[in-house]
Point group: C2
Chain length 430, copies 2
């Protein structure tokens, strides 16, 4: 029998269970392929009463994660608890104890990646986190290894499955946000507390990680401009569709000279763009570099088996490094702290839905107010008059957000303008 590497799993929830299942199911195939076995030795969880679809044998179950951390026979631990509380303490302790760590915890890596990678480097162990961004999509390894020779200028994509699921159903079934959210919660596509997803915080964490790895510029999550999907209405989706767009929550990272712009927000995506075809809980990430040109990776962004697959890939890699005696082979790829470009200086095209008094000359006044700040219009539709109030819908040409903000102050000050009901950024097609 060939060699075997033992691993421990900390936290037996969705991802922990997916990892356990895939390693059990394909254990023999993995052994033949990589030349040694990878075996789950212990799984730690605080609650073994709760029934999961697949339960590990009783002898594998442990209550205290420190039993795994102190086990000299287990060189690799997988953290699947999530969050930055107990997970941070345990990962820190495990790295200090010389364990290689695999995690799918995006908040942990986004907020504490630097500290943890430093410990891993000092201890000569691995810290891998493919499952933290894009579920099953091999984006981290692509950025750290395959595309490493490139100077990348753009990383953007759909990195949150819950919001993409909600936006897809809103568009397909002509439902409002709150109705789809309630149903998504019932079906398990959204958490009981969906804030992290629908407010864009989850996507923000992932974008911070992608920027650190892809650009070598480590951003603080607070520097990522973040807007969720809660204010997207059926009216906006319909107007957008009329103009040839679908609405997606995009995480966008771009180099701007020595700075980097990082923003997460609902975005109008042209219908013929490959990202427009990413539906339901799928994710997709676009990368542009000086050698590779456009590259896109697409796959399931969440779920027990898809994320379990990504984590298992990392586990096998970490095990290869244990067997080959080269732990810590690929660690931090961050060059420097990112200098964030303020959102005011980010160029975007913007969709606006403006409620106005229904009287002649309104469009002219708005166009003039925008034009006075140098904001020009790419397309305009005016619709839905009810005799008193009308809606004007327009998309601007590319302009800096700061300039648009000033222009919108002028628009709001017009006596014919009731309110700016919606403002959604649009993807730059040029």
């Amino acid at each position: 029998m060939s060699e075997e590497v033992k691993i421990g799993i900390i936290g037996y929830g969705v991802v922990g269970s997916g990892l356990y299942q895939i390693l059990e199911k394909n254990g023999e195939e993995i052994r033949q392929r990589v030349g040694f076995g990878v075996r789950v030795a212990k799984i730690a969880d605080v609650d073994w009463e709760r029934q999961r679809p697949v339960m590990p044998p009783v002898e594998m179950r442990v209550g205290d994660a420190y039993d795994l951390i102190s086990d000299p026979e287990i060189p690799i631990l997988v953290e699947t608890i999530g969050g930055t509380g107990i997970a941070l303490k345990l990962v820190r302790a495990a790295l200090e104890a010389g364990k290689s760590i695999v995690t799918s915890n995006k908040a942990l890596i986004a907020m504490h990646g630097e500290e943890l990678l430093d410990i891993a480097e000092a201890k000569g162990v691995d810290l891998m986190f493919e499952g933290a961004v894009g579920g099953t999509i091999p984006i981290i390894r692509a950025l750290k290894e395959s595309l490493e020779a490139n100077h990348l200028d753009t990383i953007l994509g759909i990195v949150n499955g819950t919001t993409n699921y909600i936006l897809t159903r809103m568009a397909d079934e002509e439902l409002e946000f709150s109705d789809v959210l309630a149903d998504a919660q019932k079906l398990g596509y959204a958490e009981a507390d969906p804030t992290d997803d629908i407010e864009g915080y989850d996507a923000r964490n992932k974008l911070a990680i992608l920027s650190a790895i892809g650009f070598g510029l480590r951003a603080r999550v607070e520097d990522v401009f973040t807007e969720g999907i809660t204010r997207i209405t059926q009216a906006d989706l319909k107007y957008a569709a009329q103009m040839g767009y679908v609405v997606k929550l995009l995480a966008i990272g771009r180099r701007q000279g020595s700075r980097v712009e990082l923003h997460v927000h609902p975005t109008l995506v042209p219908k013929n763009h490959p990202l427009a075809a990413v539906r339901g809980s799928f994710n997709a990430i676009f990368v542009h570099g000086d050698g590779c040109d456009d590259v896109m990776l697409y796959g399931r962004g969440a779920g027990d088996m898809p994320t379990g697959s990504a984590v298992a890939g990392d586990v096998i890699e970490a095990a290869r490094n244990v067997v080959g005696g080269c732990k810590g082979r690929v660690l931090c790829t961050c060059l420097a702290a990112a200098e964030p470009a303020p959102m005011d200086e980010v160029d975007t095209r913007t969709y606006l839905r403006i409620r106005v008094t229904d009287q002649p000359g309104v469009m002219g006044k708005i166009a003039t107010a925008l034009g006075d700040e140098g904001v020009s219009l790419a397309s305009v539709i005016q619709l839905d008059t009810d005799g008193q109030v009308a809606e004007i819908v327009l998309v601007t040409h590319l302009c800096a957000e700061g300039r648009l903000n000033r222009a919108l102050e002028r628009v709001k000050a017009l006596d014919v303008v009731e309110e700016i009901a919606s403002r959604i950024r649009a993807m730059d097609e040029g």
Copy 2:
């Protein structure tokens, strides 16, 4: 100054030049990111008279590749000559001399991968070939590392940029194959001798490699059913479009129990399928596994910089293994020789264009002849009558090729049938 790994390049053509350029341009960024430098020390080519867009300094140029193979200061050699003649001799010699090899040579790996990987394993060095399939697309690393825990059942995609370019232009500009081919040759999108591309041999080599890596089943290229795009006509593209399809040259690998079916041929792809949106010289590869579900990777399939980017990624990985003392870390992932499923036993849907005498009852006779062998029809259009001869265009439901072949013998024997003008397989939609 940190450590530096020297590499040699054998062959200074399109890929060799792309690799040299990307390592020169981004050398400093790569050094900061990976912690050591990767420097091109020598480049061997038999012809330094021919001018290329970017020429390396004279002191780097070498005429005899064995100067690189025998240089003890160069642990990594990149082979970019192509083909299985001198390239095979040199790679064999370099591996025997203990060099790690990076290559983008698909024919070499498809036909001699087993022998070369065995030498690499015996010598404890790396043999990497990301650039051999899908140009810049990180599909080999995804299969060997990221998705390694999966049991994969399907790998299919567009893996030849030349044919995709030709098919895209034929559809967009309503041109016939031979006209686009001539123009593509003028523009450099097709070789002077385009046989390898247009007959599907290049795609066949790539599919053999993907099967070996992804399924762990090593196929002989002769076992891959292969049909090129030379017989695709404007008429077929138009009929296909009418029925909601575009035509793509697909390489398709599927497990069939303990066997594997491998086939390359023009294929009708539904317009709303992501592969239908892969245009021009882009490539895309779909993978389906038990953990990851559907994954798609998309990018440029050829070109100096895109393929140079993939090769450079491998070079950096090989250099990491040199520095970390773990050469040969990820080698052969092939479990066994593939047992090929004969094409007769492969289920497909098939588009048929049949020229018939223009008289009543023809359609009934054809449908009956097909039905007698159990082949049923999914859709039928009948068009383009010129008074004497008419064309019937139809798509069958899924059936084994052998059964369809027998049915087509019956159809051909009908006195009302002039000829079966076209037969194109269609993607199974579910």
